[in-house]
């Protein structure tokens, strides 16, 4: 799937991805998507298209453990987040919710807002026109959770196997 790049800087925190004022309301995915990045880039939620990719600097997702900061991006159709590094709780949350998070500083340096990109998850490649950036493959345990569609599905399978 091809998508467009949305480019942001370092330390994009969970409060600007999904504000605290909405955190303790139970919301449907599409409603979460309508608040995605609203305190960082008010135009994002209105204009993001399925398959688009977020490209950001270091420590993406720092701050709160709120999971909607990953859920709202997935609900908005974001194909993956590519960053120089991720905050640890965000990394786990994203995987657990089935949102691919790729660490690739070279791609972050090179890609600009609006660039078109395609991701080859199995091959570990980010492709933008003539440019190809390799990212380290995710550990098997993580791929298993992503392939199951998230931790809940993965745990269901595990519990099923125990029965």
């Amino acid at each position: 799937m091809k998508g467009k790049v949305w480019k942001y800087g370092d330390n994009v925190n969970t409060d600007v991805i999904f504000p605290g004022r909405h955190t303790y309301a139970l919301m449907k995915p599409e409603e979460m998507a309508s608040h995605a990045l609203e305190d960082l880039d008010p135009g994002f939620a209105k204009n993001v298209k399925p398959g688009d990719v977020i490209v950001a600097g270091k420590n993406f997702g720092c701050g709160s453990s709120r999971e909607q900061a990953a859920a709202c991006l997935r609900a908005a159709g974001v194909q993956a987040v590519i960053a120089k590094s991720f905050a640890r709780i965000y990394f786990r949350n994203a995987i657990n919710l089935g949102l691919p998070v790729l660490q690739c500083p070279e791609a972050v340096e090179a890609l600009r807002a609006g660039d078109e990109v395609e991701i080859d998850f199995a091959g570990g490649k980010i492709i933008s026109g003539e440019r190809i950036f390799a990212f380290p493959p995710l550990p098997d345990s993580v791929v298993g959770i992503l392939e199951a569609g998230g931790l809940i599905e993965w745990t269901r399978k595990k519990l099923g196997a125990l029965k």
């Binding site: 330390n11 504000p19 139970l26 420590n59 720092c62 701050g63 709780i89 657990n96 919710l97 519990l159």
Partner: protein, 418 residues
């Protein structure tokens, strides 16, 4: 072989000797969640199980929006109460108790050597008592309730060596802000932050909680202080379970060791909009603001309220500043009442809020309008966190906030605390 605190705790839990970088599957000791328990319950129900695996390990504290300010929050709380009753979860703290990290500590789930997972980023706080405690998300908590196990990567350890004595008007909050400012918001990502050195034991448990709490703002997975006489004195009357003291071996391998001479630190303040944008208070002295906040899970304990009340006693806060006081817990509130601190605050023109998270996460009790500025003792100053995306948050010690509330502009507290 010498090992760090985190390597030792996780080795014991894994049943084999492990090193930083290895992945282990462990059965933790306690699971903390708060208002987000309603969302966790939603995820848990998707698993198709009737019962949680270990109800006695689950600790739920309602604190984020208490009492409920809107119907949707009331519904959340109702879902939690019904689930607690249905699953016979013994450790449920309803709205009167206070902020989860304080309540969890007072109720002494925070015990040396325990592995604690919490669906809150400031779960690092229990490192103050020598526990291994880390934050996770809601879905992961639902899975823990179901399976009673989790995979963890054994973290590398960043050791912070504390030497020297604090000057007058300088507190644990200034020390941790200085460390975060010097090293950045991601310096400790995926790591343990271990506080040690000859000055570490000079800090009260309340002050250790400030530093362990804010280690999260450097990205830390967990924080740790080695238990000492002060820890044992606290546990003597409170410990709810047997515990084992775990400490790093003297020749343990650290990722890095940073040294801080406390006598060289002056009052610090984190400026908008990141916690690592730290300056000496003197650099922003005289800046006007609209709201002061004294309290929260970071700085709402008795020693914090004593310091603030000491500065405010017999005076009145500046009429342009709305000053909010938020005791961290019911226990702290009662002690503050006995000491007359609450009377001091009210006489000084402060608004005393019920124990809980209050305005810190921008959901109720003191939201900021566009263009407004707050100076508070909380732990995060991200854009829009306490209201309008066009408001600004400064973070400092209770002394700095109290001194600033009196003057109506950001003020170095040392003029009141020589």
């Amino acid at each position: 072989m010498a090992r760090t605190f985190s390597e030792k705790v996780l080795s014991r839990k894994a049943g084999r000797p492990v090193r930083a970088g290895e992945v282990v599957t462990v059965v933790p000791d306690y699971y903390l969640s708060h208002d987000n328990s309603s969302a966790i319950i939603g995820e848990f129900k998707k698993l198709g199980l009737d019962r949680v695996a270990a109800p006695w390990k689950i600790v739920i504290v309602l604190d984020h929006i208490v009492p409920a300010s809107e119907e949707k929050y009331a519904l959340n709380h109702k879902i939690v109460r019904e689930f607690v009753s249905e699953q016979a979860i013994p450790n449920f703290f309803d709205i009167e108790f206070g902020v989860c990290h304080q309540v969890f500590s007072e109720a002494s789930f925070a015990l040396p050597g325990k592995v604690i997972m919490g669906s809150d980023s400031h779960t690092t706080t229990y490192g103050a008592f020598g526990a291994f405690s880390a934050g996770i998300g809601r879905t992961e908590m639902a899975s823990l309730w179901a399976t009673d196990e989790i995979w963890l990567r054994v973290p590398e350890t960043l050791r912070i060596e504390l030497v020297g004595g604090l000057g007058a008007g300088v507190f644990a909050k200034d020390v941790i802000l200085k460390i975060i400012g010097d090293n950045g918001a991601d310096r400790a990502n995926y790591r343990t932050v271990e506080f040690g050195g000859p000055a570490a034991s000079n800090f009260s448990l309340a002050s250790r909680m400030v530093m362990a709490n804010m280690a999260a703002e450097m990205g830390a997975k967990n924080a740790s202080f080695e238990p000492d006489e002060k820890t044992l004195a606290w546990l003597r009357t409170r410990a709810r379970d047997a515990y084992e003291i775990v400490a790093s071996d003297p020749d343990a391998a650290y990722e890095a060791v940073l040294s801080y001479d406390l006598s060289k630190i002056e009052p610090q303040i984190a400026c908008p909009h990141t916690v690592d944008n730290v300056k000496p208070v003197s650099a922003v002295d005289g800046l006007r603001f609209n709201q002061a906040l004294i309290g929260t899970c970071t700085n709402g304990r008795l020693e914090d309220l004593e310091i603030a009340a000491g500065i405010l006693k017999g005076k009145r806060v500046n009429s342009r500043v709305r000053t909010l006081v938020l005791p961290a817990s019911r226990e702290v509130y009662l002690e503050a009442l006995k000491e007359g601190l609450i009377q001091t605050f009210v006489e000084a023109g402060c608004v005393v809020l019920n124990p809980g998270c209050g305005p810190c996460l921008g959901a109720h009790e003191g939201i900021l309008a566009g263009g407004e500025v707050v100076v508070g003792t909380s732990n995060r100053n991200f854009r829009g966190r306490m209201g309008s995306r066009d408001s600004e948050i400064y973070l400092a010690s209770p002394a700095t906030v109290a001194a600033s509330a009196l003057e109506g502009v950001i003020t170095d507290p040392r003029k009141f605390l020589r």
